[in-house]
Symmetry: C2
Subunit: 340 residues, 2 copies
Amino acid sequence: MKSTITDVARHAGVSIKTVSRVLNDEPNVTAKTREKVRAAAKELQYRPNFSARSLAGNKSYLLAMVYDNPSVEYITHLQKGATQACRDRGYHLVVEPVDWDTGDLTNDIEVLLGRLPVDGVILSPPICDSRRIVSALEKARIPMVRICPRNSEMTTAPSLNLDDAAAAFDMTTYLIEAGHTDIGFIRGAASHESSHLREKGFRRALKAADLELDPARIADGDYTFQAGVDGARALLSGRTQPSAIVASNDDMAAGAIAGAGAMGLKVPDDLSVCGFDDTALASMIYPPLTTVSQPISDTGALAAQLLIDRMTGKEGVREDERLSVDYKIVIRGSTRAFKS
Amino acid sequence: MKSTITDVARHAGVSIKTVSRVLNDEPNVTAKTREKVRAAAKELQYRPNFSARSLAGNKSYLLAMVYDNPSVEYITHLQKGATQACRDRGYHLVVEPVDWDTGDLTNDIEVLLGRLPVDGVILSPPICDSRRIVSALEKARIPMVRICPRNSEMTTAPSLNLDDAAAAFDMTTYLIEAGHTDIGFIRGAASHESSHLREKGFRRALKAADLELDPARIADGDYTFQAGVDGARALLSGRTQPSAIVASNDDMAAGAIAGAGAMGLKVPDDLSVCGFDDTALASMIYPPLTTVSQPISDTGALAAQLLIDRMTGKEGVREDERLSVDYKIVIRGSTRAFKS
DNA sequence: GCCCGGATTGACAGCGCTGTCAATATTTCG
DNA sequence: CGAAATATTGACAGCGCTGTCAATCCGGGC
């Protein structure tokens, strides 16, 4: 039933090596031979054996995506994009959730590397900033791509960056242009680089518009709904209140809306609130969130692509790449022009 | 640097076959030999080569999880549980999102099967009900576990069921006991078996309490937020209004709350609303949802476990299993006792 | 027509492991 | 105590493929 490369070779009247060449798109095969082999393979419904290929060629055709659990949506989209890119190239994606806090991270990775010979690793935040993991991978000479790393100097491995600072800048500027001059900000988790970048963009936008920033207008947070509730409460309980709040992600924006509601403030009439990430939640709450949409799925695809092309020695892929992906501001119902 | 089984054998002064036996926990090795081999392996930091093992043993130590995109949370939790179970047993999980609607499902699967020799497949809803996929797997003799299949007769492969009907029954009964007698229901997507079971449980609970069901109290839906909005609008715009609504999932419950709000009804004072699944959303909206919590992650783990144990020929795993996993009703703020 | 260089093809040796089965050690029991 | 039964170990042949390198083929220049 299951045909091997030998069957195909016999069927096509060539050597197995030639069949191998055709299947791997190697050069030095005449068009005619190539055709003959393809036909034979097709007729026999031949599928190369994964393990044999891996063993002989010392490649696994497997990429691993290592992640803690930043946000289910984020991960799912990343995965979706990455799998798609893998599939197009004959690769597969193995998922490896690890535990940043409680688990034995290093051990997890060692087990992974030791046991499964993946050809490359996609590191999503905040894992991409684990020095131990990165250096373990470097030592094992396993190619990797880091997604939105906090510290881009840590390694020469390529990374994909969403320009969080620019996005936060644009979002804040949008509020300013809508007339808001007193704007609060709720920070994300300090362990994510995005938190810092978003805050930086926010500050820069105020400065660009010549607006003072009262330190009391910045509240700590950790990307959870509850942090949004608390953040809003902190920001709104002073003697004066900001007319808008920029939350560092959608969950916190939702929390901020809830928190404001609990204090009797209506969004967007009494307070504008905007989020970040354009998660499903953003359009599931009332009012729907004005937020920043980033192409997560494309990012995942790009990561896989980069990794594979790099291994395959494709052109145009230098060491040490820093790619940026697009974003856009999505304006919905949670923000409105300032009215005094 | 990288040690092979031969190195370990030499180091321990035994044959490679004996090393192999120790590593695979096979019988017929004396405790002393076993110890010696273990020590040697440890000292050399030996890691068996995945591909070689797969090739020689005709196993891949890989499970695939095939899914369409029912809900990101659902999938993420399923994955989390499954990976964990895999890791404990030396397996890995490959994710394979496929496109139920637009894509070429059969082709996707064939490519998967042909290219990657997975040892087993976990089918999540609604993929588990694709006759073509199931029979393709059967033909290829690849073990599978189906999660919440709609049609349990389709194959003898084991399946894991969340007892949706019982959960809906309990949830409805809870509302009835809280004094509600006029209860509306918003259906899930017809393509998911869960939708039908949840409706069945709802109906059964009414009957058990001797309550009439007005057909107008059932609204169609498809598990999306918008469907909840529309469903609520439909249910509430009649001459009389129900005092509670059971939505078939959390997203729709959130939609129902929004829809009711838009009509001037306050939840839970004017209307009780409950959801299903206990997604993160459930505690992120105001009021937080009364909902049904099901151990999705455990289900994923169980699925992987079942698959692996079955292949390994473990005891206590019969063909044709139908396992149920627990659920519990989580009462939060979106429901309250009926007041006339 | 003959020789040369490059293009094409094939023979063969593993990759690192497991399955088979035969060889050897150990135990059991009459 | 010896033979038979059983437990433990090892030799060896692949698994299906790719890398290496040698063999063969082809076209062009003289």
